[in-house]
């Protein structure tokens, strides 16, 4: 199935949820609304013509000037059909939640936790949504947001290593 056929098949099945499909450099990126994200993902996994059984990565992009601000990016691959797709959904800052896909791909568990840790997007029905790379008590916010300075917000300057060890 060509990439255009993939895109049009999603468009047929999810008419209100489908936003746009872009093909660039041989990659197909389909944007859907965040309400339809879980349904579309379930369709991609279950439909025999789609058969996306393999989750490649979960990522997120911050566009501070846009509304909705954040973008969740899922990339799937079909080992039997040998095609790949990128599924995206926009998430507003005020209600930063999408449905988790851990019930479809178990591998999404750690990947979604990383997105939450780095970008602050929460995943509904995720079994264990905690920070994964940053410490649990990290209080500076979400490091990969564009308004987060590269040097951090001064949390590390308050470390008192010598006092800690002397205690």
């Amino acid at each position: 199935m060509s990439l255009q056929q993939l895109a049009s098949r999603i468009q047929e099945n999810f008419n209100p949820g489908f936003v746009k499909a872009v093909e660039w450099r041989g990659d197909l990126a389909v944007t859907v609304t965040r309400e339809a994200l879980h349904q579309v993902a379930q369709f991609l996994h279950d439909d025999p013509a789609m058969d996306f059984d393999y989750i490649v990565h979960v990522s997120s992009v911050d566009w501070p000037d846009d509304e909705p601000r954040f973008e969740v990016v899922y990339e799937f691959y079909s080992i039997r059909k040998r095609h790949r797709i990128r599924l995206k959904a926009r998430v507003p800052e005020s209600d930063c939640v999408v449905d988790s896909l851990t019930d479809i791909w178990k591998g999404a568990d750690f990947m979604e936790r990383e997105v939450y840790d780095m970008m602050g997007i929460r995943f509904r029905h995720h079994p264990d949504l905690r920070r994964i790379l940053m410490p649990d008590d990290y209080a500076e916010g979400y490091p990969l947001r564009k308004d987060f300075p590269l040097r951090g917000r001064g949390w590390r300057d308050t470390f008192e290593f010598l006092d800690e060890t002397a205690r």
């Binding site: 660039w24 450099r25 059984d53 992009v61 990339e75 591998g107 750690f110 940053m134």
Partner: protein, 414 residues
């Protein structure tokens, strides 16, 4: 420490037992054990909280991030060229393959075709790096399990290749030899001679590694039937590389989406049957033979030609011209200070590193810096399946599990 009440179960003695009145009540509870962060077998700083019932693992929770350096954030601050040395520090055991995966992703973004000779050089060095990676893995995995000799033999042969890297690019581990659009420098006659010599020397050594392990009872007992993962689960968890192929799933990006000089080479992709640690070991050893085969074919087919794509707005000028020619110096300076102007768009490009699929997802909003760069690190994704694969096995098997993923924390935590 205090345990929660629901974890404690009180075993009552059978009331029909003749001595039930006098026997004390047995109290059993699950034990929480912290393994790591400082543990010699965790291959870096990784902590796993193990919930134990006796010596069996009931649940394990990996705690990661001790080596988190914010590489993805750093990528947004530098130009595309400046990020190449950062990729060395991801999987510091196999820096060449990280450079390769990153350069391929940027080439896809910029739509650059790499010259033929450069493709062959890249493939040869990538396969040399795969040999190094598998040797390192085999040595440390055998050491974890208790077979010390293999470690010395693997590292002896790995040293030859690291010295070869040293001669190629001046560094043994953090190499940065790949460039966007090609490679930094060509092979010298001495390098070629050394590589050909190694190709004759190496296959009998692989046989030697196998001899050490094939009848080693401890090795067999601790790898066969341990950490079994079914093909469906392996795919569902997003495992890749030998960890996925050990379960019999035929997915190798070198075959599925051929790149570089791989389509011109004939090689097999070894597949496992049982999905246990032993099959994953066997695949890696077989891949050593395949890598030798690929390098041989590349050396036969390689022809003279340029080693860098001729796209002056993106690719770096040759070093000797930078020192003698003003225009080239300006070009070099502009590329490193401002970077090249990438078109707005987004790409994902996956490369089959020796651990699994190492992918780069790059979002460009125009300009000289990536707007967002996401690294799909196989070690990180493999750790997601750790709990699933460890349940029901012994504490000691947790160590073989770290090993069987070939985990490197620099890549896992980024």
């Amino acid at each position: 420490m205090a345990f929660e009440d629901q974890r404690t179960t009180v075993y009552k003695v059978d009331p029909t037992h003749p001595e039930s009145e006098t026997l004390p009540t047995l109290r059993t509870e699950e034990l929480l054990l912290n393994m790591g962060p400082q543990h010699p077998s965790t291959h870096g700083v990784l902590k796993v909280i193990l919930e134990l019932e006796g010596e069996r693992l009931v649940k394990s929770t990996p705690v990661m991030g001790f080596l988190h350096r914010g590489v993805e954030k750093l990528a947004e601050e530098g130009t595309y060229h400046q990020f190449i040395p950062h990729t060395d520090r991801l999987d510091y055991v196999c820096a060449m393959y990280n450079n390769f995966a990153y350069c391929r992703a940027v080439e896809k973004l910029m739509n650059i075709t790499v010259p033929k000779r450069a493709e062959y050089l890249r493939t040869i060095v990538a396969e040399v790096q795969r040999i190094i990676g598998h040797q390192f893995w085999l040595g440390t995995q055998a050491l974890d399990i208790g077979a010390m000799t293999v470690f010395f033999y693997c590292f002896r042969d790995r040293e030859i290749l690291l010295d070869w890297f040293d001669e190629l690019c001046g560094a043994r581990l953090t190499t940065s030899w790949y460039r966007i659009g090609g490679v930094e420098r060509d092979f010298t006659p001495s390098l070629l001679a050394k590589l050909t010599q190694f190709l004759d020397y190496f296959p009998p050594k692989i046989d030697e590694y196998i001899v050490f392990l094939e009848k080693n009872r401890i090795w067999l007992a601790r790898t066969k039937g341990v950490a079994v993962v079914s093909a469906e689960d392996a795919v569902n968890f997003g495992l890749s590389g030998p960890t996925l192929r050990g379960s019999g799933v035929d997915y190798d990006l070198r075959k599925a989406e051929p790149y570089s000089a791989y389509p011109k080479c004939e090689f097999n992709v070894p597949l496992g049957k049982n999905g246990d640690t032993y099959d994953r070991y066997w695949i890696r050893v077989m891949e050593l033979y395949e890598s030798v085969k690929i390098i041989r074919q590349c050396l036969e087919q390689i022809q003279d030609g340029p080693i860098m794509a001729d796209v002056p707005s993106v690719t770096l000028p040759p070093k000797e011209r930078v020192f003698t020619n003003l225009e080239s110096m300006i070009q070099q300076f502009k590329l490193f200070s401002q970077g090249f102007d990438a078109p707005p768009g987004e790409i994902y490009c996956g490369t089959e590193a020796h651990k699994g699929e190492l992918g780069f997802y790059i979002v460009s909003a125009g300009g000289g810096k990536p707007y967002r760069l996401k690294i799909r690190a196989p070690s990180f994704i493999h750790m997601g399946a750790f709990d699933h694969m460890s349940r029901g096995y012994m504490i000691a098997d947790a160590i073989t599990l770290f090993g069987t993923y070939d985990i490197v924390m620099g890549e896992c935590d980024r």
